[in-house]
Symmetry: C2
Subunit: 302 residues, 2 copies
């Protein structure tokens, strides 16, 4: 199953000539989940040749313009393109009011289903056969939420030769794939690990933006394959980060280290930094598996 994230924007509040505001696109088996939708997201989707129509779920972390001002244009374009499928939006309740107001003159042609995330809520907000999405509060100037996208635990892989050897029936197989031991006709217990290969570990992606340094999020993102954590500032502006509810690259690395994630992606770079190498460099002092995001790049989650 494809499980990857494409970064569409990497700037903080002020876009630059080369950096768009925040938007990430998660591809889980060719179903697309948009995370944040800064101004110009639809333009980036066009640029990277991603079909709008594949997006059915949009998650908005918080209501600062650089994380949702692209929503109106995207929704309006989806409508112009003749969309009829429901579009689900997950965010804080104020966004529903904003959308209703902004779109009151539009006849969209599809349902906009709003799923409110209450302040401080942590828990599951979406699941289907293959993945689960949960949310948790971040620490910012306004209510802000992180998201974790995680594959569901797959069944164990039955070793094929065991079927004739133990005369396994369909029901036995389902139970064994689910982790049960097998009891044969003589009452012998065949332990599950003799019958199966373990399932692949479920992969996971966590998105944390915007947020100040906040170790309380670790329980929610522990061990994820890829953690995206905002790093608006380098260490030279650690004080400014604290004042504005943002993080430095080093703080993001510290979170990645404590949460024992596999890989860290940094983004949401302040416009004042032309050369971004300092972010990766400072983070590396604490956590080696780190990259600055590059717009248009797709990161495989594996």
């Amino acid at each position: 199953m494809t499980f990857s994230v494409t970064v569409l924007g990497s700037s903080s509040a002020l876009p630059t000539s080369s950096r768009f505001p925040t938007a990430h696109l998660l591809n889980a088996n060719e179903r697309f989940f948009l995370i944040d939708c800064g101004e110009g997201t639809q333009i980036q989707l066009r640029k990277y040749q991603i079909r709008f129509s594949k997006i059915n779920h949009i998650f908005i972390s918080h209501l600062h313009g650089d994380h949702y001002f692209g929503l109106f244009g995207l929704i309006s374009s989806l409508s112009l393109l003749g969309r009829t499928n429901d579009l689900n939006i997950y965010s804080h309740p104020e966004l529903e009011e904003i959308l209703n107001f902004q779109l009151k003159y539009y006849d969209l042609g599809f349902n906009l289903l709003f799923h409110a995330i209450q302040d401080k809520f942590a828990g599951l907000i979406y699941e289907d056969k293959q993945i689960m999405v949960s949310t948790f509060p971040l620490k910012h100037r306004v209510a802000s939420n992180g998201f974790v996208f995680k594959e569901k635990q797959k069944e164990k892989n039955l070793i094929k030769d065991m079927i004739p050897y133990y005369h396994l029936g369909i029901r036995d197989i389902l139970k064994i794939k689910n982790g049960d031991d097998f009891i044969d006709q003589n009452g012998n217990v065949i332990p599950n690990q003799r019958l199966t290969h373990p399932a692949k570990e479920p992969r996971s992606y966590a998105f944390c933006s915007d947020t100040a340094y906040d170790p309380t999020i670790i329980e929610h993102i522990n061990g994820v394959n890829i953690l995206y954590h905002e790093s608006t500032f380098a260490e030279n502006l650690a004080k400014r980060a604290e004042e504005t509810g943002h993080s430095t690259a080093k703080q993001a690395a510290q979170i990645a280290h404590l949460a024992e994630v596999k890989k860290l992606l940094l983004g949401h770079f302040s416009a004042r930094y032309k050369d971004l190498s300092i972010f990766q460099q400072e983070a590396k002092e604490i956590f080696s598996e780190v990259e600055n995001v590059i717009e248009g790049h797709t990161y495989k989650i594996e």
Copy 2:
């Protein structure tokens, strides 16, 4: 005096990988007037290295998203950049309501002065020492207005040698520059054209988008140096143009021809056209001085 227009966006409602939605920037002697503000306008301003802070007046033609969805991000960025100067916005009254709603949580740090253009209004909406801006109704699915930016008539140029020859005083000079004849001490009338060179013709720029073909606008744009007229479709989709309140390139050319403008710029191209040469080609059959706009290009008005 600099008098030019920079095109920031040339797409119609659906942006493409290479075309942003509508926004034009008029430079009148280093004072900047923004005309329409589609999504991504601030990104284009950055790209073409135009300082946001120079914009004090924004004119919005109509309330379809591709002409104003960039306003929220631009205003928010102006605020983040520490703006304190008033920002003037000229548009239909509904936009004031939208802006108030959208910005109610923002402490901008500057005044947003809204100047409502009532439905069907035609007349002057702005003037200063150097230029005048007037508006007039277009023909679209919602209230839509065009704008004409025109230099003020300059004073005539006094021929320097005439000052000692006729012993002209300051008051005489001011009157003569204003067009008066001069009466010398013997009562002889010296005609103005003997004393002066004519002033340069005031230059003008007209912006007409979005609109169906509408010859009633000709009186407002007659003889302008540059006419920007939307041409969403080529002739193959003339019927679609009519249905949607848009124009074809040929219709734009017909307006340019009837209004005897000096030069026609075409834009607001539908996303379905990859190759835009058909627009210029079809328009040329009727009006030779025509160009398709190119994003980032600055057109001198002369």
